[in-house]
């Protein structure tokens, strides 16, 4: 007698991902989709895809999707959630989308305590456009627009989004997680689930920052990328919860 112990979540469509080998978007998409399925909200959910490698997320999540202009996903989400408050609305954004062009929009959904959930994929580089510097690129890290390594004197220090948003009252759930090994992937899924539960209770704005790899633009193998993440990103971007609700504890 066979027992099915694992199957692909119905929160994802059957479309084959276009992501690079070793890209952690694959993991993060799956975690989000599994949470939607487990909370039985896939049919109520409207997701907003960003501009970046995950622009095609609108083909991968098995729910209604809107493609937003670069950085504007939180504003698009506001428009949807305000007119359809009973739907679950989430944005899925990279570090260029959220921490560069979209800083105004993400700060103000937190400020207005919009009842939406944001999944923030931070791999410290611009993937889709070929590896340019991101606001979250580390000092000394090379990119195609910081070819000699990011210089603090020239461009300041990398931006810590969770710490910044946690100062805003409306951001009621702010947590940074990573997907560089299995224990962290489990913790990441827990945080994502809590972030959607915050929305179901209508508590306010919830964001999960997920430290991620970009093997292609970091110029490393997928396995080396996971090690590089752990040794370089985690020390600068500490994992953990910055704000939570009583229920989210």
């Amino acid at each position: 007698m066979e027992t099915r112990i694992f199957e692909k979540t119905n929160g994802l469509t059957d479309k084959q991902f276009h992501y690079c080998p070793g890209c952690t978007h694959g993991i993060i998409h799956r975690l989000v989709a599994e949470v939607l399925e487990e909370l039985d909200i896939t049919g109520e959910t409207i997701g907003i895809a960003p501009v970046g490698c995950s622009v095609l997320a609108y083909d991968y999540f098995n729910c209604d999707m809107q493609e937003a202009a670069h950085g504007r996903a939180p504003a698009v989400a506001t428009g949807i959630k305000r007119v359809r408050p009973d739907n679950v609305v989430f944005t899925y954004q990279g570090d260029g989308d959220l921490a560069a062009i979209g800083t105004g929009e993400i700060v103000h959904v937190a400020h207005r305590a919009e009842k939406i959930t944001t999944i923030f994929v931070n791999n410290a580089i611009y993937g889709m456009t070929g590896g340019q510097m991101a606001p979250t690129t580390l000092i000394g890290q090379k990119s195609t627009t910081s070819p000699y390594g990011r210089s603090e004197a020239d461009t300041g220090k990398p931006l810590r989004v969770c710490e910044m948003l946690a100062t805003i009252d409306g951001a009621v759930f702010v947590e940074r997680v990573s997907v560089h090994d299995v224990p962290n992937i489990r913790k990441a899924k827990k945080a994502i689930k809590k972030a959607f539960e915050v929305q179901l209770r209508g508590d306010g704005f919830a964001i999960v920052e997920v430290l991620s790899t970009c093997p292609t633009n970091w110029g490393m193998t997928p396995v080396d990328s996971l090690v590089w993440l752990k040794e370089n990103l985690v020390p600068y971007y500490p994992l953990g919860n910055f704000r939570t609700t009583e229920e989210g504890k």
């Binding site: 469509t13 896939t42 049919g43 109520e44 959910t45 409207i46 907003i48 622009v55 609108y58 083909d59 999540f61 098995n62 729910c63 209604d64 999707m65 809107q66 493609e67 937003a68 202009a69 504007r72 504003a75 698009v76 989400a77 506001t78 428009g79 949807i80 305000r82 007119v83 359809r84 739907n87 679950v88 105004g104 929009e105 700060v107 103000h108 400020h111 207005r112």
Partner: protein, 353 residues
């Protein structure tokens, strides 16, 4: 039906609510602040939502979201804020979403002035965003007309799944006139089964999107959009032709400037000079036919605008080389005076008396 004395901006807000607008997203900018202020007081009363966004850019993207979710949505601004919205408008057009955008225009370029101007004609008719798209551009010349056009704009937007641009100027936004909210016959509009309302597990996901990585598919999409635009050109032109019989000179003006032009026509008539007026009400699609129908008596066209000359380009196109086209304009927020138009007409006809 009783008439109410209303400020233009507020009447525009009231008209939108009458038309079933359920979402307003805006940002303060002179001279249209009464619109968001009115909406902040009134929207909830009819079950709608109001958000003062953090910028005009955020506001148009909120409109995109709400429109994509199947709800009648609107934003308003003035010229510098309208410039900010251009990104959102091209995305809305590319994704085939309906919405209404109201521009209460002021002096430019840049931060400009806060007084009325018509320097946004190019934005309204060419679009300031990237790519091949069009929006019907409606130009009221009175508050009553603004109300009538705004009410219809929501139907037009839903019918074509396209943004509709309403170009009022600061004068129309700020002045007060009696207005009545008439009952109208709505257009037949198909159900919004393309909207993102949640699949409820009963259908495939709906996707609102303007991206296509396959250029062949994007070309097909552009051809599809163009078919819509050709339908608009064929069916949506509106124009007022005034006092054209036996006209020696044809004035062309829209909005507040058209009212000034009508004053000038009266003054000219008192001096025995026959002047007619072509007043486009849709700036796009432009009323080419009205220019073909100019009588034989006409010797010249004078375009009058509160700008350095934008509509005059379309007048030259519509004229098709038949008559000399002249231009008179004031800019920076200055308003033309009837006497100045009279003097210009006399100059054109040969000698100021």
């Amino acid at each position: 039906m009783s008439k109410v004395l209303m400020k233009g901006n507020e009447a525009i807000g009231a008209a939108a609510i009458k038309a079933g607008c359920k979402a307003f997203f805006g940002y303060p900018i002179t001279p249209q602040n009464e619109i968001p202020e009115y909406m902040s007081r009134e929207m909830a009363k009819s079950g709608g939502v109001f958000v003062q966004a953090e910028s005009e850019l955020a506001a148009i993207n909120m409109v995109y979201g709400a429109a994509g979710a199947g709800v009648r949505a609107m934003t308003s601004s003035s010229s510098p804020g309208i410039a900010l919205k251009q990104e959102g408008i091209t995305y809305i057009a590319g994704a085939e979403l309906p919405c209404v955008i109201v521009d209460v225009s002021r002096g430019g370029p840049g931060l400009g002035s806060i007084q009325p101007s018509q320097g946004d004609y190019f934005i309204a008719t060419r679009g300031g965003g990237n790519g091949d798209y069009r929006h019907i551009a409606l130009a009221p010349a009175s508050i009553q007309e603004a109300v009538d056009l705004v009410v219809e704009a929501f139907d037009i937007a839903d019918y074509y799944r396209n943004p509709v641009f309403v170009l009022a100027d600061g004068m129309i936004g700020q002045m007060m006139e009696p207005v009545e909210f008439k009952e109208t016959t709505p257009r037949e509009i198909p159900e919004k089964n393309w909207a993102t309302e949640g699949t409820k597990g009963k259908r495939k996901p709906n996707i609102i999107n303007s991206l296509s990585l396959d250029p062949a598919l994007l070309e097909d999409h552009n051809i599809k959009l163009d078919k819509k635009y050709q339908e608009m050109v064929a069916n949506e032109v509106r124009v007022e032709v005034f006092n054209m019989k036996g006209a020696e000179v044809v004035l062309s003006a829209y909005g507040t400037t058209a009212r000034v032009a009508k004053n000038a026509i009266e003054l000219l008539a008192a001096e025995g000079i026959k002047a007619g007026l072509i007043r486009p009400i849709t700036l796009w699609p432009f009323p080419h036919q009205a220019f073909r129908e100019i009588p034989e008596t006409a010797k010249a066209i004078l375009t009058v605008e509160m700008s350095m000359g934008q509509m005059v380009d379309d007048v030259r196109i519509a004229n098709e080389g038949r008559l000399p086209v002249h231009f008179y304009g004031r800019s920076g927020g200055m308003c033309p005076e009837p006497q100045a138009i009279v003097d210009k007409v006399k100059e054109i006809l040969g000698g100021v008396k």
